[in-house]
């Protein structure tokens, strides 16, 4: 462990906290790389970031389960509410209400089935997950269900990848031993920000065009 980390830890800050703060810029960079190099779009940088750390706090299994419950319930409620012609804010409040009830039911069922892992999770990450539904719903309204669903799946995939990245011991030790590596992120992001190459997804999308380029 590096000297700086030891110094901070000696002041009473938990290693866990230090690690998460240091890991956050790495995850953010990873999400940026997903977008610029691979072409996985997701909902901005905030949503996959929060989802990653929520998974970290809740555990991947329950994390995904809760994500799916929120997504499916939210979409269903939106479809039902479409016929009522309500204004945006009250409509979203109703969606959040139904989702809260669904999560409560999920916790109850979990408790009944003696899945104590679910009940033991801290509530704050779950609350954050619930609020993410606004992003999904507003995207559905703006860009249609198809686009929103694709973006949601992409967000989920990125978050799962990021989750496995931050629980990776080699990475964890590396960051705690050499926190100065964080400076590398500036270089990487400047490179990503100037990168004008073709994204991996675009190779797929434009394959017909490339086949037809002579010379």
């Amino acid at each position: 462990m590096s000297n700086i980390i030891q110094l901070i830890a000696s002041q009473g800050v938990s290693i866990e906290t230090i690690y998460l703060i240091l890991a956050l810029p790495f995850v953010a960079t990873l999400i940026a790389a997903f977008r610029q190099l691979i072409g996985v779009k997701s909902f901005g940088i905030y949503t996959p970031l929060v989802l990653t750390f929520a998974f970290w706090a809740i555990g991947i299994k329950y994390g995904i389960a809760i994500f799916l419950v929120i997504f499916i319930t939210g979409t269903a409620v939106r479809y039902i509410l479409r016929n009522f012609r309500l204004l945006y804010m009250p409509r979203m409040a109703i969606v959040l209400t139904v989702i809260s009830l669904a999560i409560l039911a999920l916790l109850a069922v979990g408790g009944y089935l003696n899945k104590t892992g679910l009940a033991a999770t801290s509530i704050l990450p779950i609350l954050i997950l619930i609020t993410l539904i606004e992003k999904f719903i507003s995207t559905q309204v703006e860009k249609g269900f198809r686009t929103a669903a694709v973006l949601s799946i992409e967000t989920l995939v990125i978050s799962i990848a990021c989750y496995y990245f931050i629980i990776w011991d080699i990475f964890k030790n590396l960051v705690l031993d050499h926190p100065e590596y964080i400076l590398l992120l500036f270089v990487i992001n400047i490179f990503l920000g100037r990168w004008t190459g073709i994204r991996l997804s675009e190779y797929l999308r434009f394959r017909e065009v490339m086949k037809n380029v002579d010379k």
């Binding site: 610029q36 072409g39 012609r85 204004l87 945006y88 507003s138 309204v141 703006e142 860009k143 249609g144 686009t147 100037r194 990168w195 004008t196 190459g197 073709i198 994204r199 675009e202 190779y203 999308r205 434009f206 017909e208 065009v209 490339m210 086949k211 037809n212 380029v213």
Partner: protein, 516 residues
């Protein structure tokens, strides 16, 4: 793998588009203007660019309360001012007796439905940033006849990418059933690549996949010639200058009455146009970057030279003449059977059909353009030989008989039978001898003396309506026995004044028929 990477070099990806083209060329102020449909429309209108008329604007709830719905016409388009990608656009194409409208997405729309939609627009559901928006009603473009078979309910439009005053790539976008009558590609519209030099469509894509025919009606999508193409390119370049966007996508629709009309300008033109054209965009952008382009005509010329398809089309553009091959499919009008034999009435039929046949001395045999279509006259289609070695066009006797000239031909043969035709005989001498008949037949018939290696022959000339490569002509055809020859009709020099002949050209029509 390496050729794969090499081929991708000219491709324009999202990263390069944003960083290398939009960022340096499209300044924030210009993007702002482009994203605001009403303001950009106003700017274009002031500069003399044709845009759809505005029927009304609703800015807030107060205006919505007092809006006079009855003043709306039977068909219109309701749009959010700051929408993108065709979201939130309602196309209304008819009104029912109970005052409700019909939208292209299918289904009735009452005033209440429209009000609710306007409310949604206010809420900012369809705007770029989700910020609250205003709604407006716009003229619905009237569909061009030739594009009708290809469009589902909505109006097709043409997207032209202009960079550095050069129209680098273009695409025709067709609305489909899936896209709900809108021409936007990611909603399921069809994108057709367009040859920038000629305005003829090449490939077609739907959902980024190549297709050949329209999904609903199964019409072939390649080879559609977009009318007023040069005008469209010119307007697109002007739009770039007015909007001050260095890299711009201009959407233009063709109204059946008004001609090309600019629907909107885009600061963030999409990349699918590359698939529709099967051509990489960056390669083209690099080629025109830094060029000094003097004016619109110059920009169009550069685009045609650099990115145009077929050479022969360019010759047609330069000379203003159609290029013909040696064998062409032509149409010949059939004489009205009622007048067959009398032969005099042909001109009157022509008048009824709106044809004006040029009168003059028998010497003026220059083909005359027929100003109106001869819809009422029947015609036949056949292959003819284009013969620049022949002065006049000629037609096989048997065919001329079938076309309704039997009686005149018989009469002519009858009177000519006894004539002595010597080597130094002239038309005037012979005409004098059969004057009665010639007067009886009228202006549509004449004679000609043809001298060839076989000797001298005296032939009947018939004025016929023909259509060659889409151009209608009146040609005087000499009647002769061609039954031993491959082609019953040859087209000679006198009918070819408006054409160029390229012996290496094979006509599509001939090919198409042979292929079957």
């Amino acid at each position: 793998m390496f050729t794969f990477l090499k081929n991708s070099k000219g491709l324009l990806g999202m990263n390069a588009r944003n960083l290398s083209y939009i960022r340096p060329n499209n300044l924030q102020g210009a993007i702002h203007l482009a994203n605001n449909k009403l303001r950009s429309k106003e700017a274009l209108f002031k500069a003399g660019i044709p845009v759809p008329k505005i029927y009304g604007v609703i800015r807030n709830r107060k205006e919505l309360e007092v809006f006079k719905w009855d003043d709306l016409p039977k068909s219109f388009v309701l749009k959010p001012n700051c929408g993108s990608g065709g979201k939130g656009i309602k196309v209304i194409f008819g009104q029912k007796k109970d005052q409700s409208w019909v939208s292209t997405e299918g289904g009735k729309m009452t005033i209440k439905d429209l009000r609710n939609h306007v409310m949604d627009i206010f809420e900012g559901f369809y705007s770029f940033s989700g910020a609250s928006d205003i709604a407006f009603f716009e003229e619905r473009i009237k569909l061009l006849k030739i594009l009708k078979p290809y469009s589902y309910k909505g109006i097709p439009d043409i997207r032209v990418i202009v960079y550095n005053k050069v129209p680098v790539m273009a695409m025709l976008r067709l609305p489909t059933k899936e896209s709900g009558g809108k021409a936007n590609l990611h909603m399921g519209g069809i994108g057709l690549g367009v040859d920038i030099a000629t305005g003829v469509t090449t490939n077609a894509v739907m959902h980024d996949q190549l297709i050949e025919k329209t999904p609903d009606t199964k019409f072939k999508l390649s080879g559609i010639r977009i009318p007023q193409w040069k005008e469209i390119l010119e307007i697109a370049i002007k739009c770039q200058e007015i909007s001050k966007l260095g890299y711009i996508g201009v959407d233009i629709a063709i109204d059946s009455e008004r001609g090309p009309v600019v629907l909107e300008v885009n600061a963030h033109a999409g990349l699918s146009i590359q698939i529709a054209n099967l051509a990489p965009l960056k390669y083209r952008l690099k080629k025109v970057s830094g060029l000094k382009v003097k004016n619109e005509a110059h920009g169009i010329r550069i685009a045609q030279d650099l990115f145009g398809g077929e050479v022969e089309e360019e010759i047609e553009d330069i000379s203003g003449k159609q290029v013909l091959g040696i064998i062409e499919t032509i149409k010949i009008g059939i004489m009205n059977p009622e007048d067959s034999g009398l032969g005099i009435k042909n001109e009157e039929i022509g008048k009824e059909a709106g044809i004006e046949i040029a009168k003059g001395s028998t010497r003026s045999m220059e083909p005359t353009k027929i100003p109106l279509s001869r819809g009422e006259l029947e015609e036949i289609e056949l292959k003819a030989k284009i013969d620049t070695g022949a002065d006049r066009s000629s037609i096989d006797e048997e065919l001329a008989r079938k076309l309704g000239y039997e009686k005149v031909i018989d009469e002519f043969k009858e009177v000519v039978k006894d004539l002595e035709i010597e080597n130094n005989v002239t038309k005037e001498i012979l005409d004098e001898k059969i004057k009665d008949k010639l007067d009886k037949w009228g202006d549509d018939f004449d004679t000609v003396v043809i001298k060839s290696s076989h000797g001298v022959s005296y032939r009947l000339l018939i004025k016929m309506n023909i259509e060659l490569s889409g151009i209608k002509l009146i040609s005087k055809m000499s009647v002769t026995d061609r039954s031993h020859l491959e082609f019953p009709v040859i087209i000679g020099r006198r009918s070819l004044g408006r054409f160029l002949v390229d012996p290496s050209k094979k006509t599509r029509a001939v090919f198409g028929k042979d292929a079957k």
